[in-house]
Amino acid sequence: MSRKQRLELIRILIGLAVFAAGWCVPDTLCSGWAARGVFAVAYVIAGWDVLWASLRNILRGEVFDENFLMAVASVGAMALGDFAEGAAVMLFYQVGEWFQAYAVGRTRGSIAALMDIRPDFANVLRGGQTLRVDPEEVQVGETILVRPGERVPLDGTILKGESTLDTAALTGESLPRPVLPGDPAPSGCINLSGLLEIRADKHYGDSTVARILQLVEEAAERKARTEAFITRFARVYTPFVCIAALLLALTPPLLFGGAWGDWVYRALTFLVISCPCALVISVPLSFFGGIGAASRRGVLLKGSNALETLAHVRTVVFDKTGTLTRGAFAVTQVLPAPGFDRTTLLTLAAHAESASTHPLAKAIVAAAPSPIDPAAVANLREHAGRGVSADVHGRTILAGNAALLRANAIEPPADALTLPGSTILIAIDGTYAGAIVAQDQPKEDAKAAIDGLHHAGVRKTVMLTGDNEPAARAVAETLGLDAWHAKLLPADKVTHLERLLNETHATPKARLAFVGDGINDAPVLARADLGVAMGALGSDAAIEAADVVLMDDRPSKLAAAIRISRGTLTIAWQNIIFAIGVKAAILILGALGLANLWLAVFADVGVAFLAILNALRALAISPKEP
């Protein structure tokens, strides 16, 4: 509670006490004017600032100012003779205002705490001394020290020391990450165990932590359609209610001989509920809470509009490599031809591939049964797009695709050409010796990610990849994807995406999300209704290009984010319907003379109160499956 809020609260409490005292003054005293006097004092204590603001605003010509309308309603009630009612309207209006400010302050605080990843200082090594400086003052290339319990202040590389890093604030991942010299140290992580010496790779302003904070602060500026609707509604609501009040006060007495006091009183109930505050506060508050709930789990939403789109996602298109799969090949099958054994085949192939940088070659080298002996390799030659040839231990080895073998007059058996995954064919001394299959393995949570999306109401999951068909099919079938398209060039991906977009948009409101690593698929990411980049910790390009950023590389986070967004939207619409419903009911009851000012002010403050409490639930939405 701020100082200003505390003072306000004290003022309201004094007002309430004086108000209560007013009821104790006997009605007969000075023919009722003593009690009225006390109520008037309570009224002024509670509402002088409202009266002052209304005066100021009316001089500026702003008639639809809520202060002015509240002043008219309460003064009107007193003019009609009921001082207690006038004071009550003002008091409870102020109680409502105070609560709104308090609730918003609390939410602001808890979201700020959630995003409290800003490092306060950096220990920089300069001239043999450790200096404690502002992170912004550290230059690229300088060495910083991070002690256990401290936050990594800017992005760097570990020079010295072993430790574990807590990345929970950035990724939502609770398992600490072990780090060694040479590993990157993303800013915002907390060093848990050992002293680390880190070389600063980036300025603070370009570091992960600064970029995330900027993103979160700017997120609120991109408003959702629901929010825009509320803003438009609020703009016409107040004038509409005021004009209705004026008509209600004037028409029946002038045209139908109604009693002035009765109709003016009915019109005053309109003015009491003329502020659209409950809506204007609770809807953005729900979105803000939803964005906070997602960021706590390592999902950054670049605005309320992204959250809203996410809730309507019905088609999810994935890139394969690095998104659904690990992006690293591993040998999954070794198929020696008759007369050759597995160990010989792998050993010779690994030696032949030992100098190659191709991902498949690296997988074979990693699978070698014994260490590579570089002295055993001679006459190594790379055949671009085909493979390699080399002499290993005096034997001539060919390792590559069918074209390489055929170029050497060796015809591989037909069944070796249709294996799932990427196949390397091996020939030894001019004879076909067998095949080695390497596959890009699906990520551990990829299956759970697809299942989770289907559970969350996603109708279609599609994989687009530049890889060959057997490799794509193997992944798609393991994961249970609804469709897949292989051997795509970047331009083909866009074409497929366009088609899928048309298909998705055939259902009203349905939206399409594309999930990629954000580096190679920028055009597709931009073309989709919602671009999702993953594994963004340390990748600027991904953060820039996407609408939704998954801080780690777990695709299952997307289903969690969809759940949070759905929950948030539900809460926002509950508030919209509830608030408009109650206001409409009071307008009808007020016009019929069935609602008095007490009921109106309680309904108005109550709606705001409940809508705010409901909005705060968005912060605590659990992304778990029901």
Partner: protein
Amino acid sequence: MKQSFRLKGLDCANCAAKLERALAKLEGVEHASVNFLTQRMSLEGDDARWDEVIASAKALVHKMEPDVVMA
């Protein structure tokens, strides 16, 4: 030119909405956004008259919400 400001003391959503509309109408302002939750305001507008734009925005904020400080 685009710049963000903090609006200290902004604690009423409807005031924020009204402020946003009024700021957008200022000469030299192309886009204005006020968020009462983050207590931030962002202005986008004419580079050539940027100082003028900020000064008039400050005056407007002070006139409409005397309790709010723009920083």
